[in-house]
């Protein structure tokens, strides 16, 4: 498609959600253009094949764009935030570096107001999304096993679970001694060859980037399929404005091309898929006539209600060498014993335990889930205690929406194109703190039951903002939400949002399967009801 030719669908962002939408709508016969500020990644150049892989993990593959500082990254002012937002800018987005731990929301997560009297209900239910979860599991490639009593019955997983390893078995036994729930994790990592991609060989770097393509990142799943179906992905293109016509409807987007030149891509509909920080940033930047607060922002809620999943990390040290750097890093077991609200507790909602492994010697010493190993006389002893001998329980807490937690435009900080950077204001709530403390106390009990001789606590992981949610939430009421149940802006019927910004509440699990199920739900709606957006209808 020529650069200024009218597209049916313009998608901004080729990550977890943008990739899924590109595939579904290209399959439905729409002409699709996707603008991505990052580049296609080359798995053969990922850190896992380099002697200096630990340095690269902390350098050009750092989760934090402020540390990574690639040309395609934009800075984020996080001085007023308890948690640092993390992301990756590339085709595949943050699925390039995610662990691919893929639990689903529970049915109750969509009914928080009705059931617990807090926050708001979603305009969709688990059951609305269930077929889209299933489709996404097949497209991304899910290993796991059905039958988890903490969740509704689900279809057989396409692949068996990943290996538990000696550390996983030990932790499972710890949960069982206490009579607490545990289950093998669902993961978008191949445990056997799947869809032309090989099985994982347990290198442990799924949380950096997968050299084998055994991990389901959208640059190896949805996006290539979308391209095969005719979608066009333009990389190195940084969008700075969603444009509108005199009728208030979206007309396309203006962007800086790879050469730094300003361009415009016209489209019949625009789909914003830039994550829970990038999406509100773009909407707030887009102030065409008639939209003084930013496009789609008549409610004033764009950027508001930012949710992370605040993490506490409890690390258990065992006496024997479990080689805990072997195997997928966060894809072993989970426990949802404390997922749901219990009126006997002094907080609402709950949390998931995600078991996490350790890693190589450099990052073990520099601090993975803990502060760095001691320097000086105790260094060697403390290092020996940690290396290969620890397991981690990450407490993933539900984060309730609060208006004062927000993404705004920074007054001074700008990206390399001179576009205002986002500024994040975020404070953990009293409810969250109580919830995390409960999780810490119980994690210590699990480690004791599992035979650990010591457990060490990080009460709040600052560099833990992987999950960016809530900043353009969905709802039925235009005064209390930004988009409707189909991700369609209340203010413009051809502007859609499909990323974590949509979330009304956060649940207490890694959000990407839900983000992608929502993206497929929105796409299905467009594909089946919005034939008016096709060239053939115009």
């Amino acid at each position: 498609m020529a650069q200024n030719e009218l597209a049916d669908i313009l998608i901004i962002g080729a990550g977890a959600s943008g990739g899924a939408v590109a595939w579904r709508l290209a399959k439905a016969g729409f002409s699709v253009v996707c603008l991505e500020q990052g580049q296609w990644q080359k798995p053969s150049e990922y850190p896992g094949l380099s002697d200096d892989w630990e340095i690269r993990w902390r350098g050009d593959f750092n989760y934090d764009p402020n540390s990574r500082r690639r040309p395609e990254d934009y800075p984020v002012n996080d001085r007023d935030s308890d948690v640092t937002p993390l992301m990756f800018n590339a085709v595949g987005g943050s699925t390039v570096h995610w662990t691919a731990h893929t639990p689903r929301f529970h049915p109750s997560d969509f009914r928080v107001r009705s059931q617990d009297g807090v926050a708001a209900d979603w305009p969709v239910s688990y059951w609305d999304l269930e077929p889209h979860y299933d489709l996404n599991d097949r497209m991304m490639g899910c290993s796991g096993i059905a039958g988890d009593p903490a969740n509704p019955p689900r279809s057989p997983r396409p692949m068996p679970p990943l290996p538990l390893g000696p550390d996983g078995v030990r932790m499972a036994n710890g949960f069982e001694k206490l009579g607490w729930h545990w289950w093998p994790s669902d993961s978008y990592i191949n445990s056997v060859e799947y869809d032309g991609r090989p099985a994982c060989n347990n290198c442990g770097l799924n949380g950096v980037a997968c050299t084998r393509r055994a991990k389901g990142s959208t640059d190896v799943t949805y996006v290539p399929e979308a391209v095969r179906l005719g979608a066009e992905v333009r990389t190195g293109c940084r969008v700075y404005e969603v444009t509108t016509g005199t009728d208030g409807r979206a007309t396309g987007a203006s962007y800086f091309g790879p050469d730094g030149e300003r361009r415009h891509q016209p489209a019949r509909a625009v789909v914003v898929a830039c994550n829970g920080v990038g999406t509100p940033r773009l909407l707030l930047l887009s102030k065409p006539e008639g939209h003084p607060r930013g496009i789609a922002n008549s409610s004033g809620l764009v950027g508001k209600n930012l949710m992370f999943h605040p993490y506490a990390m409890v690390t258990g040290a065992f006496w024997d060498d479990m080689k805990s750097f072997q195997g997928a890093v966060g894809n072993i077991i989970l426990s949802q014993e404390f997922y749901e609200t219990d009126p006997r507790r002094d907080f609402v909602r709950g949390y998931t335990y995600q078991m996490v492994r350790s890693t190589g010697p450099g990052i073990t010493a520099a601090g993975f889930s803990l502060p760095p190993v001691a320097w000086g006389g105790k260094h060697h002893e403390e290092f020996a205690e940690r290396f290969g001998k620890t397991a981690i329980l990450a407490v993933i807490s539900e984060d309730l929406p609060e208006l004062h937690n927000e993404v705004v435009l920074d007054d001074r900080l700008k990206d390399s194109n001179g576009i205002p950077a986002p500024r994040v204001r975020y404070k953990t709530s009293t409810n969250t703190r109580k919830l995390l403390d409960h999780g810490i106390r119980n994690a210590r009990r699990v480690f004791e039951a599992a035979g650990a001789h010591k457990s060490l606590v990080t009460p709040l992981l600052r560099a833990g903002g992987w999950h960016l949610m809530g900043t353009a939430r969905m709802g039925d009421d235009p005064e209390t939400s930004v988009v409707n149940k189909y991700g369609q802006a209340h203010d413009a019927d051809n502007l859609f949002i499909v990323d974590g910004s949509l979330f009304v509440t956060s649940g207490a699990v890694n959000p990407t399967p839900t983000i992608q199920a929502l993206a497929l739900w929105v796409s299905e709606h467009i594909a089946t009801t919005r034939g008016d957006l096709k060239a053939s209808a115009n």
Partner: protein, 155 residues
């Protein structure tokens, strides 16, 4: 004291070598990190990671300006106890920078083949070889499967 261009001087490098020996002291048959010659690798890594480079320069600058060290003729003229005390002072005053500095030193030290040999690390990249692991065995679910479903209904 680092230059205005944020580069270390030769005097800084001599001090850094001593600092490394205090941060990671000798063990078994290995000398301290400084005596192993790792200062150059620390500087090299810092050159690749801007965040860590900034912290290295601030750390070295702070040690150079430390009044107590200065009065005694510089960090290298202090006793080892005094050197540790100077480092603790900076750790307390600049915790973020000090943490980054430790990260830098640890990445250099644990990237060295002599250290790999001592700690029993294979030293190769994780790929393409990966690791052999026993496949998942469903037998472990015998107890977990007996539990009745307990997810909360939404209706």
């Amino acid at each position: 004291m680092p230059t205005k261009e944020k580069q270390l001087t030769n005097a800084d490098r001599m001090m850094l070598k001593t600092v490394l020996d205090r941060v990671i002291p000798p063990v078994d048959d290995l000398p301290g990190a400084g005596a192993m010659g790792l200062a150059a690798q620390v500087e090299n890594i810092a050159g690749r990671v801007p965040r860590l480079h900034g912290s290295l320069i601030k750390m070295v600058g702070a040690l150079s300006l430390d009044l107590h060290s200065h009065a005694k003729g510089g960090f290298n003229s202090l006793t080892t106890d005094q050197q540790d005390e100077a480092l603790r002072t900076i750790e307390s005053a600049l915790p973020g920078e000090f943490g980054n500095f430790l990260e830098l030193v640890f990445l250099a030290y644990y990237g060295d083949s002599r250290v790999h040999k001592r700690i029993g690390w294979h030293g190769r990249p994780p790929q393409p070889e990966g690791y052999e692991m026993e496949p998942f065995d469903e037998a472990i679910l015998e107890t977990a499967r007996k539990r009745e479903p307990f997810w909360r209904k939404d209706k």
